[in-house]
């Protein structure tokens, strides 16, 4: 040992102190020694001198070794302690060692002292190191447990026999929630899953155990209310320090919310794409319908420039031009009308009774109903009213009903049936007629298109259904159509409530 050992000696007899000193010098120990003989001095020197080792006589006038050892223990001071005594019984020796002494030396065997000191210090150093190591192990385990217990990921450790070793609280929560079972250590992990999922899981665990590969996948479970829970799932092997796989860690992150947002975003994108297509179609059809009368005006006015044309011809041309101008004006009016709907949503919502709408439409169609032998039936027992913009809903009802009359079959008296149906979060209105129907196969994308018409023989502009759709969508609804030629047409309107 290169350093000078700091020795605190508890001894009241000078001769005994010298005896010890001689033994140390003889043993070639480099040291610095202080001698104390009472409790107060001993206590002070423990702090001030900070000895590497304590040598102690057993019995002093006001103090003894047992009390000294107790003091060390109480003060949580860890310094190796050797008892030096004249005579000692075996029982006493055992008791002192139990009390924390490292060794004891008999005064007539003082030559053993240097070695006893070295051994005690070495043992003490080892003990301190072990203590430190255990403490750091405890800390890291506590840290790890804190992380696991508070993690937003569920972890399940599985051994190479597919048995559950341990898991964190979140894993146990997920198991309860989605697998309806209590996760227990030392149970067969695969048994927790539904039968059809077991072969895949077994294969993935096997792959991870055999070090072939780790798996990462998304998996869903049905919750009782029918809602899907989604997990991002990871399976990979756990390697010990010898690079041997000793088990598998299965980790699950709840990604339901992310998935829900994904679906929502997808739906929104789909809606936007549809809106965009609608707008493109709208722009196309508007430009076409503006262009058509303009072309006629150009054509007729060019003709009028000819020198040779007679008066009749001239009149025809003027007629052509004025018709085209009227048509042009009409298109501009239509446009205005359409754009207004999209803008006027600020109108107040009110409670609208469906039967009121039908009755007032019946009144306004009056003569037409009688002349055409038209029958309008309704059943609103499913839902008799809704909070909405009255003028829009009126216009929707009016357009659909008047369409049914307009596109009746020649030989069949029109019967129009309007019904409502309501469940948890939606209200559905159904308009059914027995009219001539629409060829949906040929016109599936165009039924609600602007200026689209499906019949020649009846006057129509191709505005009605376009307006209906625009108004339904402005009220956040959806309209669908089902129709068979010469059997009838059914429109369904869905509002979320």
């Amino acid at each position: 040992m290169n350093k000078r050992l700091k020795i605190l000696h508890l001894e009241d007899l000078e001769s005994d102190a010298e005896l010890v000193e001689r033994a140390l010098v003889k043993g070639d120990v480099q040291f610095e020694k202080r001698v104390v003989d009472n409790r107060v001095d001993f206590f002070r020197e423990l702090r001030e001198f900070a000895p590497d080792i304590i040598l102690s006589d057993h019995s002093l006038p006001s103090f003894n070794s047992t009390e000294a050892l107790k003091m060390l223990k109480d003060e949580q001071i860890s310094i190796p302690f050797i008892l030096i005594t004249a005579t000692i019984s075996e029982e006493f020796a055992v008791e002192v060692m139990k009390g924390g002494a490292y060794d004891y030396i008999l005064k007539d065997r003082m030559q053993r002292l240097p070695n006893a000191i070295y051994n005690a210090i070495e043992r003490h150093t080892l003990e301190m190191e072990r203590e430190k190591y255990i403490e750091s192990l405890r800390t890291s385990e506590a840290n790890l447990r804190t992380i696991l217990e508070n993690a937003t990921t569920a972890y399940i450790l599985i051994d190479t026999n597919f048995k559950v070793v341990t898991f964190n609280p979140l894993a146990s929560e997920y198991a309860k929630r989605d697998l309806h079972s209590d996760l227990q250590p030392n149970t067969y992990s695969i048994d927790y899953f539904q039968g059809e999922r077991r072969p895949t899981l077994r294969r993935m665990l096997n792959d991870a155990i055999n070090g072939i590969n780790s798996s990462n996948f998304e998996v869903s479970f049905f919750k009782e209310e029918g809602h899907l829970k989604w997990y991002d799932c990871n399976i990979h092997g756990i390697m010990n320090s010898e690079q041997r796989i000793v088990g598998v860690i299965l980790s699950l992150v709840d990604i339901t919310e992310r998935k829900r947002m994904d679906f929502q975003r997808e739906k929104m994108t789909g809606d936007l794409i549809q809106r965009n297509k609608d707008l493109e179609q709208f722009a196309y059809i508007v430009s076409h319908n503006l262009r058509a009368p303009v072309a006629n005006i150009i054509g007729f006015s060019t003709l009028m420039d000819e020198d040779w044309i007679d008066e009749t011809m001239q009149r025809n041309c003027i007629y052509g031009i004025s018709t085209a101008v009227k048509k042009l004006d009409e298109v501009v009016h239509d446009l205005n009308h359409i754009l207004q709907i999209r803008r006027e949503i600020s109108e107040n919502k009110e409670t609208v009774y469906f039967s009121d709408l039908i009755e007032s439409i019946k009144l306004s169609l009056g003569g037409l109903l009688k002349a055409g032998d038209v029958q309008i039936e309704y059943d609103f027992s499913g839902a008799d009213k809704m909070e909405t913009i009255k003028s829009y809903l009126y216009s929707i009802f009016y357009n659909l009903i008047s369409n049914s009359i307009k596109y009746r079959r020649e030989d069949v008296a029109p019967v129009i049936r309007v019904t409502s149906h309501k469940d948890q979060d939606r209200l559905e209105l159904t308009f059914t007629d027995n009219g001539m129907g629409i060829d949906l196969e040929a016109n599936k994308d165009m039924v609600f298109g602007l200026y689209k018409r499906f019949h020649n023989h009846v006057e129509g502009k191709g505005m009605g259904l376009f307006m209906v759709k625009t108004q339904v969508e402005t009220l956040d609804g959806r309209i669908t159509v089902d129709s068979k030629i010469n059997q009838g047409t059914q429109f369904k309107i869905e509002f979320s409530v």
Partner: protein, 133 residues
């Protein structure tokens, strides 16, 4: 190009048809003009008149945007007709559309000779009669 004997106009806008008659009339009174505001009727006419195998070189002006049966629908059905009918008829799309997609679609149709933007002009009729268009 053979001498044209007849013009057929298929367009749901009667004013366009009148205008076409006037414009053609300024160039020639010799060629017969038949017009239809219903494409179905126009189609039946073609089918029944030319199905007998007559020799009557014809120019057909076809509109695109029509209710019930569009110009494209007309062309689809025209495809099923007998070769001897199709040999007699040269189809021009006559549309107010200035949309490039319609033009492209017309260019890809084997039965469409050319895409004419409304209104029909004297120049176009002269071009067609002289075989330039």
């Amino acid at each position: 190009m053979k001498k044209i004997n007849r013009f057929i106009i298929v367009d749901d806008d009667p004013h366009n048809n009148t205008l076409c008659e006037f414009v053609i009339g300024t160039i020639t009174k010799e060629i017969e003009i038949v017009d239809f505001t219903s494409p179905e009727k126009g189609f039946s006419y073609v089918e029944s008149t030319y199905g007998k195998g007559i020799d009557c070189p014809t120019v057909l002006f076809l509109d695109i945007n029509m209710p019930v049966m569009s110009g494209w629908d007309f062309l689809e059905r025209y495809h099923t007709l007998d070769e001897k009918i199709k040999k007699q008829i040269t189809i021009y799309i006559l549309s107010s559309s200035v949309d490039w997609r319609d033009k492209e679609k017309a260019d890809h149709n084997p039965y469409v000779k050319s895409f004419v933007i409304k209104p029909l002009t004297k120049g176009t009729v002269q071009g067609i009669l002289s075989g330039l268009l």
